[in-house]
Symmetry: C2
Subunit: 210 residues, 2 copies
């Protein structure tokens, strides 16, 4: 029965800025060694201590654009027209085949791309307890002008429109609960038929295929 290793889960955590998806990710990774954050490719220069293939895959702008053209990214973004950041498809596929669960913390647009390219990806939307709370969190950062807060709130509303495209929603009210919920989702998704090559022999015996 255990002839083939179960595939890992590609889990995409996204949601409006200010919702605290970064905090949820960090807590999840700290608690769950089987879940690994994806290593992104970037065109920005390495900072002291950063390691190729661990912190990032460092690329020149030329290399990155050739990879875009070749369809080598699950999603990418051009941050302020300054630096590209992207999720290399090959890296993610290798990790999943090795049975590792891979976590992507990306924006809503990126999530929609991943969904298109990897139909087995599990999309989790992190929702604030209320839109008022989200606004307060954005104000509370103290780093944003009133205008920026307004803009981000409008963006958050626009992003919420994509909620029906997601598989799951978790409310980030109490952090521990939110992390528990993502863990539960990952555990359940590991039991999905589409991720059970351990049942392949069984099916062969019965004369069917997964």
């Amino acid at each position: 029965m255990k002839a083939d290793k179960a595939k890992g889960v590609l889990i995409v955590l996204s949601g409006p800025s200010g919702v605290g998806k970064g905090t949820v990710c960090k807590a999840l990774l700290a608690r769950n060694p089987q879940v690994k954050l994806s290593v992104s490719a970037t065109t920005r220069a390495p900072r002291p201590g950063e390691m190729e293939g661990v912190s990032y895959f460092f690329k020149t702008r030329d290399e990155f654009e050739r990879m875009i053209a070749a369809g080598d990214f699950l999603e990418y973004m051009d941050v302020f027209g300054m630096n590209y950041y992207g999720t290399p498809r090959a890296y993610v596929e290798q990790q999943l085949a090795a049975g590792n669960d891979i976590l992507l913390e990306i924006d809503v647009k990126g999530a929609m791309n991943v969904k298109r390219l990897c139909p087995d990806a599990v999309l989790v939307f992190v929702v604030p307890p209320s839109m008022d709370t989200l606004k307060k969190r954005l104000v509370g950062r103290g780093t944003e002008t009133e205008e920026a807060v307004e803009r981000r709130t409008r963006e958050a509303f626009a992003e919420m429109k994509l909620l029906p495209e997601y598989d799951y929603a978790i409310v980030n009210d109490v952090l521990e609960t939110a992390v528990d919920e993502v863990e539960t989702i990952i555990k359940a998704e590991r039991l999905r038929i589409c991720r059970r090559p351990d049942l392949t022999n069984f099916c062969k015996e019965a004369g069917t295929e997964l």
Copy 2:
């Protein structure tokens, strides 16, 4: 956010006879008071102590057949042409709307019917550790002739062919693990977008619908 109650999960546990799905169900119900076994309709006579609407909904053959004709069952079977047993659609829908998780322990054919009528139903296939184990369990019952064991084994193989139609598979090797896995599946399914009317107001605010 909690204006609307989340819908319950309709969870269908099925698999070949001898796999121990009844044992998994019993252990799950004992541990998890939010999960309720569906109340079936039947044409067999009530036994002492059985209560209408609790043990079964007792029907005459005529009543039952009128219900079949009206499409009132999610699935039903005619056991040895003697007695009908079926899952009343209205009962299940009321329970789900009230936020209760409903468990159905049914055969593979019934499960396919439920899937057709309730696309949100969660189908879990209970798999034996191996086909050899299943055969040994059938023999071990001691109640079956060699011929009957052969027939049941052939049936089990035929049923396994429908595995790819299911959402999840659990291996019934260690009972506790199997029950844990069903619980995890139910918890995760409660977080699915399609079961989150608690997010309806949110979506309204954002100008979208779930």
